[in-house]
Amino acid sequence: MWDYSDKVKEHFFQPRNAGVLEGANGVGDVGSISCGDALRLMLKVEPETDIILDAHFQTFGCGSAIASSSALTEMIKGKTLDEALKVSNQDIADYLDGLPPEKMHCSVMGREALQAAVANYRGEVWSDDHEEGALVCKCFAIDAVLIEDTIRANELCSVQDVTNYTKAGGGCSSCHEGIEEILAKVMAERGESFKPGAQPKEEAAPAGMTNLQRIRKIEAVLESVRPQLKRDGGDIELVDVDGKTIYVNMTGACAGCQMEALTLQGIQQKLMEELKEFIKIVPTKVSSLTRAMKG
């Protein structure tokens, strides 16, 4: 039996906004019937203001899929489209007081339905770029596709590498056999064979950019998001760059707030696009000075 929160159960047993919405002007159909989850989200948007007046859903799916759909409609009603689009899958899960790792994809589906419905309203075509794989690491809810892609993109060759890049395997370690299998498969594609004792990758800067250039680029990205953070009463400071790990210090209203993880995810994405390499952004609570003193 899944360990569902009371909130999940409540939204499953008494779903809000279920059923067809007459006069909907934005509809998003997403999901995968092979996985057993699919969702139609219907929005009634006021054209003058872009405000979501009403939202309904129909869901083919399990308890948490229905609960996620119900929660989503409650969360976005009354919001403008742009505000609604800021709702992340983590927000949906948080609203429900958490979901089991196997069920996080239900919240992802909710977020995708929202994107699809908004695109439909705006007359755009929405296409999904995320492919879902079998869950490998339960501690961190990481699936096979993400692990495979990361190994391929970074030519990883050890379980430790995979943990460094994706977190998978960094908890109870029971998924290491599964990770080794994926490593063996992807390494075979590039003509190598997996060796259990292999040294984790050196986290070197990619050729073509000096360390200084990299740091300048990173600073520039942080600079570009700073105005937005300041508006919310916070700030971000670059603490250190250690190979592919970028340490930052979130200050002010951002530190420790619900949005911190989300904001960091966004910044990490931006950094990867700019640097064209995989990096990991790690918040630290120490300032650059103390870190430097510890050496």
């Binding site: 083919f60 296409s127 079998a134």
Partner: protein, 402 residues
Amino acid sequence: MTGIYFDNNATTRVDPAVVEAMLPYFTEQFGNPSSMHSFGNKVGLAIKKARMQVQELLGAEHDSEIIFTSCGTESDSTALISALKAQPERKEIITTTVEHPAILTLCTWLEKDGYKVHLLKVDGKGRLDLDEYKKLLSDQVAVVSVMWANNETGTFFPVVEMAELANAAGAMFHTDAVQAVGKVPLNLKDTKIDMLSVSGHKLHAPKGIGVLYLKRGTRFRPLLRGGHQERGRRAGTENTTSIVGLGKAAEMALEAMQYENTEVARLRDKLEAGILAKVPRAFVTGDPSNRLPNTCNIAFEFIEGEAILLLLNKFGIAASSGSACTSGSLEPSHVMRAMGIPYTAAHGTVRFSLSRYSTEAEVDRVIAVVPEIIAQLRKLSPYWEGDGPKAEPEKAFAPTYA
């Protein structure tokens, strides 16, 4: 715990008489059966009795053909690995697409060691094609492993006949009879079955006790080596209490055999007919004319099984489902997929499995509750409209990346 327990293929309640038989072996008769003193001696006798009770249930020729193990899974692993180790020149295994993971996951693992695994397909009713099977039998096949009855649908396989064919080809034959033992009469001495797996917790004995039946003369290589327990074929100090419990449960199962196949079957049929009469777009999966007396598996189209189970649970009714969501995997039950059941139905399969403790009142209650639950969920389904599915449901709702 009150409530209606219709999930007896998952596990069963230990019969109070079984518990009673076990209790002295925790405290008074705690000795090690291998010891020379009288603390151990009585325990040794109790195990001997249990072995004979199991022998009786299986219709085995000798009591030494009964090896106690820790579970059905251990029996399955022991059987297959032994067959491969004992015949190193044979590198092939024949099994079916609808086996329990205790066989399938093991076979996937063995494939990595270079063994070739043939998976027999099933048709829409979950039946095997014996011609396909005959063609695959050769002097390369070390072992054939085919379950006696499928755990999800209850469908029987013709294992007695298949064992004859394997024997003629010089291959060993193993059957995972975890679901069948205690529900169907067995007479192993008149068959060519070499090995058979039993799990105690499916027949009102405790969890964590199993049996591997090993026909006398079948070449064998133990999985666990060490002490001389089980004549050196399964080392490790015996789980005496559970062995005694399984013996008692075997005796009781034999006594209830007639009841299982008449009264339990009647209740199952009533349940099935009652639900199907009231719920549209629902059908029985597997082969209804050839299955376990206690099992019925119904596919409710256009809704998802975990949601059904959660609502059933609210009414105190326990069943299980082949949906992907109940197992946390990305695909619905491999058994439903192998039978070609479409996704829109496979995710909505619910297995009701009764036992000799099930009552008519329970059956009536489930028949009364299920139609409501199904209707409630269909109201939420994007495939459904009013009293029936939308016209061409797969077109009316075709989500991105389906």
